[in-house]
Amino acid sequence: MKKLFVIFLLAVVGYSLVNALMDVPFGENRIEPGTVSAFYLEKTPTQLSVANVITAIVVNYRGFDTLGEVSVLFLASLGLGSILYRKHKEGEEEVAILKPSSQLVQAGSKLIFPAILVLGAYVFIHGHLTPGGGFQGGAIIATGFLLMMMAYKDYKVSHNILMWVESLAGIAFAGIGIVGLVVSHSFLENFLAIGNLNDLFSGGIIPIIYVAVGFKVAAELTGVLDTLLNIKDKH
């Protein structure tokens, strides 16, 4: 009876998905002139000098939404930390990783860790030129720290430094918005020179915001992973 109900539910979901996706012409150019998407595609390279239109939409046109997204991630990590984070007392036995990794894994992690950090930094610094941006770069950096935490039993990240990086990046994002409000006429308004298309220093406030978001996301996710890995094992 229960299985029949599940199958029925799956059939309903599948039918509605197929029904909804039937009308979407995949692989065809369906951007009609005069719509908002046509406006973005047409105006972004000329008005903002940003090659990656997605970044321009996410950070410039819809910058306030991105601020909300960043706050959501901040609140999630704050809630998780307030429930699970515990300070280590002196002389307490560490139980984060029970067995140390082999020497091969340790040496390989040490070799690949700087490369992961550089890749993450590249992704968020070049967010307005190539695919990617602050969230992706921050997540890549967090995976690098995760690799080190798994390979080395006694690898520690300082929660103090993470807290400062996270707070300063958040303040930078909101501060840029307020400067835009003061200098120009609206919150998160672009107040810097836009430069030339495909230059590293172009796009106004977009690269600055994405660097701030990258640091913020990297610090948050690293803190979350460190907190989770250090839960006291009950066995």
Partner: protein, 97 residues
């Protein structure tokens, strides 16, 4: 074009197989690794369908971070789906809950 279609079909079959395996497998560690495989193939799909931004996110979050969070959860609970948690009573007998 033909080659791309073959690649997509093969990847889609692997994706479905991994999804079914993740649901059927009683050993949760293997099931979590199967969901990681799903994320990997999805990330390739996003790239083929010209959404490299989403592909990057899926690669970092779906493959690495989600998988490790599930593995940490498994370490702190139980590894097998049908396993009954056994706790010791104060008098030494075992109690099932």
């Amino acid at each position: 074009m033909m080659f791309e279609a073959i690649v997509i079909i093969v990847l889609a079959i692997i994706l479905l197989a991994a999804a079914v395996y993740a649901v059927m497998q009683k050993d949760l560690l293997y099931a979590v690794i199967a969901t990681g495989v799903i994320s990997l193939i999805l990330s390739v799909f996003f790239f083929i369908m010209q959404a490299p931004d989403v592909a990057l996110t899926e690669a970092a979050i779906g493959i690495a971070l989600t998988t490790i969070v599930f593995i940490i959860t498994i370490r702190n609970t139980s590894r097998r789906e049908d396993e009954v948690l056994v706790e010791k009573e104060p008098d030494g007998t075992e109690k099932e809950n």
